[in-house]
């Protein structure tokens, strides 16, 4: 039942593409290759980037989590409401992270126990979580947080923006888990052949639970960064985010069928997405053309990667 070899394994093609993009943009816009712009760019991509790590884990098992944007929105709204009610900031953040994990747990429950496919499960919870968000907010924004809260999204530590530090830490964690732990092996193994994993005595359910809970956790961590960045919890915060996250992951060479791909590829996929939208804004590409260019670049990036693999 094994499929033909799948496209999309990370190779140098996509790295070369990224470098090419860098060079072209540096020559086209004097603002692009500046420390300040590159920092801005990384800061902007932090929210998506944090979630790509857990999405990579989930997709490696052969699953998907479409509810990440909704979880982010719901967590942000809960965090905002707690802070507005005067709950201590750290406690509020702690509660939010736990809520995120519970949301992820529910996804895991649907997938493991009710055996609903990950696509449908998380499509369902995407809708449910986002509906809850609107119900909580009544469609309006929640704002008015302690000043210190803005540190997470807007502050600096040793001259480096805090979101970037968080992003790097999450990726470091991801690298370690995927490359050096037993759990990481199981993620790959389950995606490559779930039945064989079961027969090898791996607790497949547990591995999946952890993956989806991590997805909830990182979505809620991202919501903290996001909320601190935008300073107001609108119910549509995070809407459509799953699109960017999945694109970065798959562009980075993680096979949607699971079991294949490396996190370093995802770093590159993420950077391509970030550089591209930043670059087009700098160049003042017309908005409608931006859409076309984005699509083309996505295809060209993967296309070059495939051709370089022949």
């Amino acid at each position: 039942m094994n499929k033909m070899k799948r496209t999309g394994i990370f190779t140098y093609g996509i790295l070369i593409f990224l470098i090419g993009l860098f060079i072209v943009l540096s020559f086209s816009s004097p603002y692009f290759f500046t420390l300040s712009n590159l920092t801005t760019l990384l800061r902007q991509v932090a929210v998506v980037g944090i979630i790509t790590v857990s999405m990579t884990m989930v997709i490696l098992t052969g699953g998907i989590d479409l509810s990440v944007g909704s979880m982010l929105g719901l967590c942000a709204v809960i965090l905002a409401q707690l802070m507005v009610w005067g709950v201590n900031m750290f406690l509020a953040i702690g509660i939010t992270l736990i809520v995120g994990m519970l949301l992820g747990l529910f996804n895991g429950f649907l997938i493991n126990e009710i055996k609903i496919s990950p696509l449908i499960s998380t499509l369902g919870t995407l809708t449910i979580y986002s509906g809850l968000t609107y119900i909580i907010t009544g469609g309006k924004g929640i704002f008015g947080f302690p000043d210190s809260f803005s540190f997470i999204g807007q502050g600096y530590l040793l001259g480096i923006p805090v979101p970037i530090i968080i992003l790097v830490a999450v990726f470091a964690f991801g690298f370690f888990v995927l490359n050096n732990t037993r759990y990481g092996r199981y993620l790959y193994g389950i995606g490559a052949n779930e039945k064989a994993s079961v027969l090898s005595g791996v607790d497949v359910k547990k591995v999946k639970y952890i993956a989806y809970i991590t997805s909830g956790l990182l979505s809620s961590l991202a919501s903290v960064v996001m909320l601190s960045r935008v300073n107001s919890a609108l119910p549509n915060l995070g809407e459509g985010l799953e699109f960017d996250v999945v694109t970065a992951v798959v562009l980075g060479g993680i096979s949607v069928n699971g079991g294949e791909g490396r996190l370093q590829g995802v770093v590159i996929g993420l950077l391509i997405i970030a550089v591209l939208s930043n670059g087009m804004i700098l160049l003042g590409v017309g908005n409608y053309f931006q859409t076309v260019v984005k699509g083309l670049v996505l295809l060209i990036a993967v296309g070059i990667d495939n051709i370089s693999k022949r």
Binding site: M1, K5, N180, Y188, G189, A192, N193, V198, L199, E260
Partner: protein
């Protein structure tokens, strides 16, 4: 060259096939005579399957020429070679699991009335064919509901439905029992009578000697010998395959069995097997024999927690245990080498290394972190011992030859600390030399106090390796023998007893 073309239907000239890091075939020249049975033999990874895939256009050659009926084959592809009536049965099963048996048999060559499928015709024709190959299932059965052996028979039927000039069989009998094998030989001889040329690959050398007209021996991608079959005997053949003399062990077993029940089943039933009671002793090798579909695999799966037990009890080391999942079984120090390596045993897209340690990662981890150096060392050691041919530990298992893949499955379970090992057709596709090695390992394990259940369709294996044998028939245990007391004849009779 010119007049040779009249006798030879297929000729390979100076064929070389290279993969990154491996030369699978090196300057191979072979000619296949029209209307003859030509066998290819060689160790695992010698290049036999590669040669077949080149012939059918499933892969591209690196250099060399192939002539068919006097014409050079260029830009070959599976579609074209099927059109040329070169019909292969590949070593790896190629079923469409979600389609029915009759859909599978006609897949790619469906019969139609106008533009609509002629389902009735296809079903009837399939029934006929299934009878011919000795498979007793309905044409409407979904392919995924069949065991490996039955799928193999469907593959053969799928080849027979086509108009064929050259029939290629790559290890067709690995998961068949003697009855189906004999049946197949009958079919092959008939085809030969009709002037059809046959290329036959097998590790069962007695079969090869009995069936073929010519034998070619491949070693490390090169042709080392080609002769008429009568010019070979088994010893000679092995020598030219392996490149040295091989001592073949006989029944010189040491007594290692201790009178201590490590596993006992009492009246165990599942949807597939009925009322099974037996025990396994410490240090014992217990054989399970039977016909295809007799439920041997199902029994193994029931013990290992893969199949739901509807009634009965299982005792491990004298204690009643509920084994509800393979994880429970592994926790009870059991191991299960499945007969279906592709869908149940291996993660084909992962590396050799990852596959081999997958069931025993705990041994090389501390606090969840893998000690990669240690892991590598452990893996290299076991692969060396099993004589596995691979380019690098990072290579995908998919790229290994069939026999080497099988060895990886075995390696994976040998690395665990299991004390009860269930082997389901463990030596399928494994070459003679390595088989001896594996038998040696089995005995050594028994001597160390491990217990083994060996499910096998090879009578010789059953009779030579085991201490005791259960014969299954139609989902039940028909009889039990001390191995010394068992003959091929009784085995055959008992297998059919409950049908």
């Amino acid at each position: 060259m010119e007049d040779q073309m009249n006798d030879y239907i297929l000729t390979l000239e100076n064929i070389t096939k290279e993969y990154p890091g491996v030369t699978a075939l090196n300057d191979v020249t072979i000619s296949f005579e029209k209307g003859k049975i030509h066998a290819l033999v060689g160790e695992n990874g010698a290049g036999k399957s590669t040669l077949i895939k080149l012939l059918t256009g499933a892969i591209d050659k690196t250099s060399g020429k192939i002539f068919y009926k006097g014409e050079e084959l260029k830009n070959n592809s599976p579609i074209k070679s099927l059109d040329r009536k070169i019909i292969p049965v590949y070593q790896e099963l190629n079923m469409i699991p979600t389609l029915s048996v009759y859909d599978n048999i006609f897949y790619g060559h469906e019969m139609t009335k106008g533009i609509a499928l002629d389902k009735k015709y296809m079903r009837e024709k399939t029934s006929e064919l299934l009878k011919q190959v000795g498979l007793k299932v309905s044409p409407k059965t979904k392919a995924r509901e069949l065991g490996v052996g039955n799928q193999q028979l469907v593959e053969i039927a799928k080849a027979l439905i086509k108009d064929v000039d050259v029939l290629i069989l790559d290890e067709p009998t690995t998961s068949l029992t003697d009855i189906e094998t004999e049946n197949l030989f009958g079919i092959i001889r008939n085809l030969k009578k009709r002037g059809i040329s046959i290329i036959y690959i097998s590790h069962r050398l007695d079969e090869v000697l009995q069936l073929s007209d010519t034998i070619t021996v491949l070693r490390d991608g090169e042709v080392v010998d080609t002769r008429p079959s009568y010019a070979f005997d088994e010893e000679h053949l092995i020598k030219s395959m392996v490149g040295r003399n091989l001592s073949r062990s006989t029944r010189n077993k040491e007594k290692t069995v201790k009178n201590e029940k490590v596993l006992e089943l009492r009246n165990v039933s599942t949807d597939q097997v009925k009322n099974i009671s037996f025990h396994l002793l410490k240090g014992e090798i217990l054989g399970i024999a039977g016909l295809m579909g007799s439920g041997r695999t199902e029994l193994a799966e029931a013990i290992f927690g893969r199949d739901k037990i509807t009634s009965g009890e299982i005792f491990v080391n004298g204690e009643l245990k509920k084994i509800n999942s393979p994880k429970d079984a592994v926790d009870e120090h059991m191991a299960f080498i499945t007969e279906d390596r592709k869908t149940l045993g291996l993660m084909l897209d992962l590396s050799v290394l990852e596959n081999v340690t997958y069931a025993s990662l705990k041994k090389v981890t501390t606090n969840g972190t893998i000690d990669k150096d240690e892991e590598k060392q452990v893996v290299e050691e076991i692969l060396e011992r099993l004589n596995v041919k691979y380019a690098s530990l990072d290579e995908k298992v998919l790229n290994l030859s069939g026999g080497n893949q099988q060895k990886v499955v075995i390696a994976k379970w040998l690395l665990t600390n299991a004390s009860i090992l269930i082997f389901d057709e463990p030596t399928q596709g494994i070459d003679v030399g390595s088989k001896e090695e594996i038998y040696g390992i089995l005995r050594k394990l028994a001597k160390e106090g491990k217990s083994i259940i060996l499910v096998s369709s090879e009578n010789e294996e059953i009779m030579n390796i085991t201490d005791r044998v259960l014969v299954m028939s139609n989902g039940e245990i028909a009889s039990e023998y001390k191995s010394e007391a068992l003959t091929a004849d009784t085995l055959f009779k008992d297998s059919a007893r409950l049908l």
